[in-house]
Every structure is written in C-alpha cells, then in structure tokens.
C-alpha cells in the first residue's frame, strides 16, 4: 500500500487547499455589497429584466452534436501524430471511426437536427393523440364559422 501514499497526500493537500481558500476568503475579504455590485455584469448596461432561464431545447441538441465532433477531433490529433507508425492499421481504424460518425451525421441531417428557422417538425410523427381526442366530425368546416363581409354568418 505504501506506493499509494503520495496519492493520499495529494488528496489531503487538495482538500486542505480548497477548503482553506474558501475559509480564508470568507474570513478575510471585506464585504460591502451594493446594488450595483450585486447586479449581473452585462457590459455596463443596466439589466432591465431577469436573465432568461430556459433555452430552446435546440441549443442542447447543437451542443451535443458539437461534443461528438469535438471528440472526433480529440481522437484525430494523437492519431495524426503517430499515424505513420500505425501504417495501414491506423488508417483503417480511423476510417471505421469516421464512417461511424458520418453515418450519425447523415442521420441527424435527415432528421432535421440542423434545420434552423421557424418551427419545422423535427420528426414526421404525429403528436400526442390520446385515443378519442381526434373526432372525425371535427373538421375545419364544422368547427370554423365563416362570416361574410357583413359580419353575419354565411348562409
């Protein structure tokens, strides 16, 4: 177990440092909050409303797609450094990996994951449709009243 001692020491040091920092700043720092200091920093402009808390879910989707390609890049860098040593094997493995990522990109594109702009259905599937909610008698002609220019119902 002796060889793990440095690890333990590291762990303790890290804890002590982190805890110590918090403690020290809590004890030593002067605290004189003013309204201006408490306000969020927005390049000097006074915020006139609370910052938005909810993003459109699409942001997350893009973020995740970004991460996938980010990881691909991370893989490619070390590979590029030694790809001569890896020879054909390296090329082959990287092609496999890239194809896999490419297929998923095609899938994403085909499903409109990168279609921006006004609401377009992500998937061509019907939305919530509890049994019986869609009454066949409910059509645009039966539910919308058409009124003529006079404001009276057309005969």
């Amino acid at each position: 177990m002796a060889q793990y001692l440095p690890l333990l020491a590291m762990l303790i040091l890290a804890t002590v440092f982190a805890g110590g920092s918090f403690l020290a700043s809590g004890l030593l720092a002067p605290k004189r909050p003013t309204l201006a200091k408490a306000a969020p920093y927005e390049c000097g402009i006074v915020p006139d409303r609370e910052p938005a808390e909810r993003f459109p879910v699409r942001f997350y989707l893009v973020a995740m797609i970004f991460i996938i390609f980010d990881i691909e890049i991370i893989f490619l860098y070390p590979w590029a450094v030694i790809f001569r040593q890896l020879k054909g094997f390296g090329i082959f493995e990287m092609v496999l990996f890239t194809v896999a990522v490419f297929v998923s990109l095609v899938y994403l594109l085909a499903n409109g994951a990168l279609d921006w702009g006004p609401a377009k259905r992500l998937m061509a599937t019907p939305t919530v449709d509890p049994a019986g909610a869609r009454d066949p008698r409910r059509t645009s002609s039966s539910t919308v009243r058409r009124i003529g220019p006079t404001g009276k119902e057309a005969a």
Binding site: V106, Y107, P126
Partner: protein, 496 residues
C-alpha cells in the same frame, strides 16, 4: 519506438461486426428512406441481421466444439476470447433480438413509435452484450457494458410521450451510470491488485499468489456490486421494478433477457473463471446475493397487483437462482447457470410478449384486472401465458423445472444445502403469484367493462414470437432436454 500493432482477426468478432454494421445500415436507411418504406421492412431487416450474426456465431461454435481444447482461443491482442461460452451467449442474445423484434413490430405501429431507431438501438445493445460475453479483458467488458447499457437507457425511454417511460429511462440511466462507475472502480482495484486488466494474466497472477490482498477483496466487492446492478440482484435491484414497469413492454422483455444474460456472462467469466482460485473469498458474497434475490424477489412479487411489475420482481428472483450456479463454482453449477439463462430467455420474452398484447393501446392495461377472464376471451393466449408462468414457477415438463433442478443439484453437489432448501421453499412462494395470475385468467369472472370495446389482437409477428417462446419452453423441458443440456455444458468450456 516501434508500436506493436495487434492483429485483428475479424472472423472472431464477426457476430458483433454484423450487428454493428447492420445497425448502421438500418440507421442510414431509416434516415433516408423512412417515408418511402413501410414499417415492417425494418423489422425484417433487423431479423435478417440478427440471424446473420447467429449463423456466423454458429460457424464459430462448430469451430470451437470440433477440437475441444484447441478450438477455444483468444484473439486481437488477447482482448477477445472465442470459446463455447462466448458463442453460447452470442446465439442466445441474437435469438432474443429476433423474438423481441417480432414482438416489437406491431407494438411500434400500435404506439406510433419510430421503427428504425428502435431496431438500431436494439442491435447495438445486443452487440454490446456479445462483446461482454466474448471479452477477455476487464476494459473490454466495460466497453461492452457501456454499449449495452447506453442503448438500453434510450430504449427504456423510447415511448417518450408517456411519463412513466421517461421516468424509467431517467432512473435506469442514473443508477446504471452509477453502477458502471462502481464497476470501473472495481476494474481499477483489480488492476492495482494484480497488475493487469487482462483476464488471462490476472488468472495467472492469482494462481501464483496464495494470499488475498485487501485491494483484491475490494475489487471483488466492487465488481460484484457493479454487475449486481446489471443482473438486478438484491440489494442492487431497486431500479428494476420501476424501470421494467415503465419501459415499453417489448423493451422490458429484451432488457430482462439480454441485459441479464450479458451481466451474467461477465460475472461468470470474471468470477468463475478468472477469480476461481480465490473462490472462498467471494462465494459468501454470492451466497448472500443469491439468497436475498430469491427471497426478496419472491416475497415482494406476491404483493404486486400489476402483472408487469410482478414479472419484474420474478426476474429478480430468477437472478437469484442463476447465482446459485455461480455460488457452487463447479462445472455443473456453471452449466446450470447457462441452462437457466437459456430457459429464462424464452420464458421472460414470451411472458412480456403476452403483457405487450394484453396491455393494448398506450401500454396501459398491465394490472391484474386486465387478465380477468382471459381464459374465456382468448383461450390460446391464456394457454400460452399459463405455460410460460408455470415454466417460471418450475413445473415439470417445462424448461423452467429442469433449469431450477440443474442449479439446485449443483448446490447440493457443492454441499450448499441451506441455499438449496431456501431456494426450493422460495420456489413455492413464487408459485403462488404465478398461480394467482392463472386463477384470474381462468377462475374469475369476465372483464365486463372493456371486453368488447377494445379486443386484444394478436398480430402475426407477435404470435410467431409467442409461439416460438412457448414451444421452446416446452420442448427444452421435454424432448430436447438432453441436447439443450449438452449445449449448455459444451458452452462451459472456459479457456483460461
């Protein structure tokens, strides 16, 4: 510094490759042609792919079983092992994929879910299961585990419009990720204790060392906990009822069959074969897990009023029975566990298949009341369910009886009498709740309110899947008992 490049013997991982490539093709096809092709195409594609993987696995099986010792070997820098054991699980998993795909076909249409993605996820998940069974390295097992699990997390939430399904996915994901981390921690400790993650090298190291290091004990504990989550053994079963109940029913069947089988594949390979020399250290742990799983699973199943949830608890108790084989840590025990998994796969897929059909629109009717009078309304369906439930209860002339018999005989052989007695008595408790469903189907009055408004339909694919399950359950229990046993026994040639 020259790099040592592994030689990749593609033939040895052909089943996995077929599944992954097939899944990608379906993904592409689904993305580009979804609107032009009818939904059944994806089911057929999925079945063809799984069948292809099965054929290639069968080919491996022939090669492995032809010359007993020389056939089994490791490949790809010793990371993968080809032996009866890995091929057995490959065949089992692919069979489960086919049955689940047949069952899911009509389900996906009924629930208006995306067919291609479903099949893609299922195939990917299966490839992870295959990898787990074929892995000869703790890291590779972990990779397989993640591929298996991540696809299953998504599948659990596949019916996104139902809150319970989302809840199931979330629970499964959080707890599954947690258990994966614990497993990984166990891998790290095992590496620390033995100096390798390769199972062969670990085994060699352990053969040479007599004493048990505390770090190694820690590794045992963490690996058992991590895999215990996957196989849903008590006390790591908390997620099971909620996830099984909330998931789309065909997914539940698939999950119960494949995830459990894969977890056991890893557990058996790691503990029985690799840590076999130190069995005295881990056997008590497995003993406790087995007893707790059997008892808690059986007793809590008794108080359930929802059939799907009850089956979830019963699958927990099945895990306990399979653990008995591992606890014995003998060849008979291993063969018993393998045979149990074979029988269990058909029983559980068939049972959840019935639940799928009876639940009808929205997967809603899974309560015991939905089965009231099923014997009068759909005698065929009721008969199939009866056979499957009786098999799960371990009644003779079904595969379930022989499975229980085999693991318990292994326990008796290993002098674990207390375990054998507890297991048999729990089987009686378990029989009670299976019987209760049968009673409701045959002996209680008709389901008056909705009997005619929304009849239970049995589409072709689902019917086929059920027929295969029930026929396999009966045949393995009677005529084909001998060959099935041989199959399981040959699968237990573990090369290490």
């Amino acid at each position: 510094m020259p790099l040592e490049l592994p030689r990749v013997e593609w033939a040895t991982i052909l089943p996995e490759t077929i599944l992954v490539v097939g899944a990608m093709l379906i993904l592409l096809g689904g993305a580009l042609l979804r609107r032009r092709l009818p939904a059944w195409v994806w089911t057929v594609a999925s079945i063809i792919i799984a069948a292809g993987a099965m054929v290639s696995a069968w080919d491996l099986w022939r090669r492995v079983s032809h010359n007993h010792q020389g056939g089994a070997h490791t490949a790809i820098a010793n990371a993968v092992v080809v032996d009866g054991f890995s091929v057995y699980f490959a065949l089992l998993t692919c069979g489960a994929v086919i049955l689940a795909a047949l069952m899911a076909d009509s389900y996906l249409r009924r629930e208006r879910l995306n067919a291609p993605e479903f099949h893609v996820l299922m195939l990917l998940s299966a490839s992870g299961a295959l990898l787990m069974a074929a892995a000869n390295d703790l890291i590779v097992i972990f990779l397989g585990l993640e591929v298996l699990s991540i696809a299953l997390y998504v599948l659990a939430g596949f019916a996104q419009r139902r809150a319970v399904s989302r809840e199931a996915a979330m629970k499964y994901f959080v707890l599954g990720a947690f258990s994966s981390a614990i497993f990984l921690y166990g891998v790290a400790l095992a590496y620390g204790a033995t100096g390798s993650t390769n199972l062969g090298e670990i085994a060699a190291f352990l053969r040479a060392s007599v004493s048990t290091h505390a770090v190694l004990l820690g590794a045992f504990a963490f690996l058992i906990v991590g895999l215990g989550f996957k196989i849903a053994a008590v006390p790591f079963h908390m997620w099971t009822p909620d996830v099984y109940q909330g998931s789309p029913t065909p997914v539940t069947g698939f999950m119960a069959a494949v995830a459990k089988a894969a977890g056991f594949a890893a557990l058996l390979r790691i503990f029985f074969s690799t840590f076999g020399t130190h069995r005295l250290d881990w056997q008590p742990l497995i003993w406790a897990l087995a007893v707790l799983s059997i008892l808690v699973g059986s007793v809590l199943a008794v108080v359930q009023t929802d059939v799907k949830r009850m089956l979830a608890y019963s699958s927990i108790s099945h895990a306990g029975y399979i653990l008995i084989g591992l606890q014995a840590a003998t060849v008979r025990g291993l063969a018993g566990s393998l045979f149990y998994l074979l029988a269990y796969t058909f029983m559980v897929l068939g049972s959840f298949g019935i639940v799928t059909l009876v639940a009808r629109d929205g997967d809603a009717r899974t309560g015991l009341d939905a089965y009231r009078g099923l014997g009068q309304r759909r005698p065929g369906l009721a008969l199939v369910f009866t056979v499957l439930l009786l098999a799960q209860a371990g009644v003779p002339l079904t595969s379930g009886f022989l499975a229980k018999f085999y693991v318990i005989s292994a326990a008796v052989e290993a002098h674990s009498y207390a375990l054998a007695i507890i297991a048999m008595l729990a089987a009686v408790i378990a029989a009670f709740f299976y019987l209760r469903v049968i009673v409701v189907m045959y002996m209680a009055g008709d389901e008056a309110d909705t009997a005619d408004a929304d009849p239970i339909r049995v589409p072709f694919g689902a019917g086929l899947s059920l027929a295969v399950s029930v026929v396999a359950t009966v045949i393995i229990g009677t005529i084909l008992a001998g060959p099935a046993f041989d199959f399981a026994r040959h699968a237990s040639i573990l090369r290490l």
